[in-house]
């Protein structure tokens, strides 16, 4: 029965942690602030802190550590700008048989949805997007945001209700 201790200070392990967590960490902060540059800076700072403390951090706890550092860094950034989130253009090509009017309606709906998501309160927005875009389970979201699974589910439900109310008549 051999147990492996993986050291965060070993370059290949550190790189693995980066490859695994950097993107969703960046998304997490981006959903909070809508500022790509700020998100990328916070991610880099978090990984630098991870490296500087690598001897004291257990490999399996690294994700928790990174998100905690990132959340705190975000709290310290006082400026709260209006959040306008941008997404990559959808490449769905499965509606070619639809009428132009239908396609237009779809696009309008998508635009409206984007705006309404940006207007969600931050707590609801972050949970909603980590679930829908990053495909995280509620238990994972709970771990990285530092709240209970039940609280995550509440925020998710609230987000959906808010979206449904704000999106008006479809």
């Amino acid at each position: 029965m051999i147990s492996r201790i993986r050291s965060v200070c070993e370059k290949k392990n550190y790189e693995f942690l980066f490859k695994t967590h950097s993107e969703s960490l960046r998304n997490f902060i981006y959903y909070k602030c809508g500022d790509l540059q700020q998100a990328e800076d916070i991610v880099q700072d978090a990984f630098i802190k991870l490296w500087n403390n690598c001897a004291k951090i257990i490999f399996e706890k690294a994700r928790s550590y990174l998100y905690t550092i990132a959340r705190n860094a975000f709290l310290n950034d006082v400026a709260h700008k209006k959040v306008v989130l941008k997404y990559q253009a959808s490449t769905a090509k499965n509606i070619t048989h639809e009428t132009p009017e239908y396609i237009l309606e779809e696009q309008e709906f998508a635009l409206k949805l984007n705006k309404v998501i940006s207007d969600l309160p931050e707590k609801q927005r972050v949970v909603f997007l980590m679930s829908r875009i990053d495909k995280m389970k509620y238990s994972e979201i709970a771990e990285i945001t530092g709240i209970s699974v039940k609280a995550v589910e509440k925020r998710m439900s609230q987000a959906l209700i808010t979206l449904r109310n704000k999106i008006g008549n479809i």
């Binding site: 201790i5 960046r26 990328e40 941008k86 959808s90 990053d134 439900s157 209700i161």
Partner: protein, 316 residues
């Protein structure tokens, strides 16, 4: 049909596919179902802005390198420990301690990664001590070691590891050094290593070759790992005197052994995991036919089970 408003996690569970059949059927009949369905469908098509992972990683590494050049070596221990250590080492008359030297010490069961001023890397194993002078680093790369460490040395001028029992000199390579009381062992993982010790013992090691000095005698052997197993959580031994195996257990787990009833000169070949004391004890002592009992104050008493020891003594 407004149940989803009474249960504040209903919608979340719906999205995750965790509703019961009945709940789902009821929900599908509600007015708002289609709206929620459409919102959820559209939302899943969203993608966050592109993220160039490789570029981001390269930027990060660059930043870390820059930080490293400006980095001041951090003190990891409170100052009073330096005072105590200084008194002890001066009393042994082995080292000259200057105020500008940097010291790292690991505790029982602890490992520590250290980066030297020239970017050479040292990983300290449990209960070990590393010392070097940052100021004189540019002139001579010299570290003092007590205990065990794995070195990855950057190419450059000579790099020396001084231990109470022997010296290791390299030009740029990877090697593992064990220096405990009266025991000295060096394994070469990469490059070439010059080992000096005892009286007139001098050996050059190439990758896969190891040497130990016991009682002023030299033993050489071959091994085949690229990195020491203790970095991966297992500590291995090859015909190593039991005394050293026991010391390794003590350093790893912080226990002490009563060895008065066993023959510590026996050789042991094998390994133990460095996180699980019970497995470790089993793996080391069962093949050696030694029984172990734990006393209250973290002491383990070892007794040779068979009469082999007695017979050996009698036949001497």
């Amino acid at each position: 049909m407004e149940e989803h408003f009474k249960d504040d996690t209903f919608l979340a569970r719906w999205v995750a596919g965790e509703l019961t059949e009945e709940e789902l059927e009821a929900f599908k009949k509600s007015e708002d179902y289609l709206k929620y369905f459409k919102i959820n469908e559209e939302a899943q098509k969203l993608k966050a802005p592109k993220f160039d992972k490789d570029a981001a990683f390269n930027n990060l590494i660059q930043q870390l390198d820059e930080n490293n050049e400006n980095k001041k070596v951090k003190k990891l221990l409170p100052n009073w420990i330096y005072a105590a250590a200084a008194v002890l080492l001066i009393a042994l008359g082995i080292y000259n301690i200057s105020h500008s030297s940097t010291r790292y010490q690991t505790d029982y069961g602890q490992q520590l990664a250290v980066v030297l001023p020239d970017n050479s890397k040292v990983q300290l194993n449990a209960n070990s001590q590393l010392e070097f002078s940052e100021k004189s680093w540019k002139k001579t790369r010299e570290v003092k070691l007590k205990g065990e460490a794995f070195f990855e040395v950057e190419k450059g001028e000579s790099f020396k590891v001084l231990t109470p029992v022997g010296t290791v000199e390299v030009l740029g390579t990877k090697f593992n050094v064990i220096s405990r009381d009266n025991y000295f062992e060096v394994r070469c993982h990469k490059g070439r290593v010059l080992v000096k010790g005892g009286q007139d013992i001098k050996t050059i090691l190439t990758p896969g070759k190891a040497v130990r000095i016991i009682n002023a005698k030299k033993e050489e052997w071959t091994f085949s790992k690229t990195k020491p197993t203790w970095l991966q959580g297992e500590i291995t031994f090859n015909k190593t005197p039991l005394e050293q195996v026991i010391k390794a257990l003590e350093n790893q787990f912080g226990v002490s052994f009563d060895i008065s009833k066993i023959d510590i000169k026996q050789r042991f070949t094998g390994g133990f995991p460095n996180k699980d004391l019970n497995s470790a004890l089993k793996l080391v002592f069962t093949p050696m036919d030694i029984s172990y009992t734990v006393k209250d104050d973290n002491t383990i008493i070892l007794v040779n089970k068979s009469n082999k020891y007695k017979e050996a003594k009698e036949n001497q």
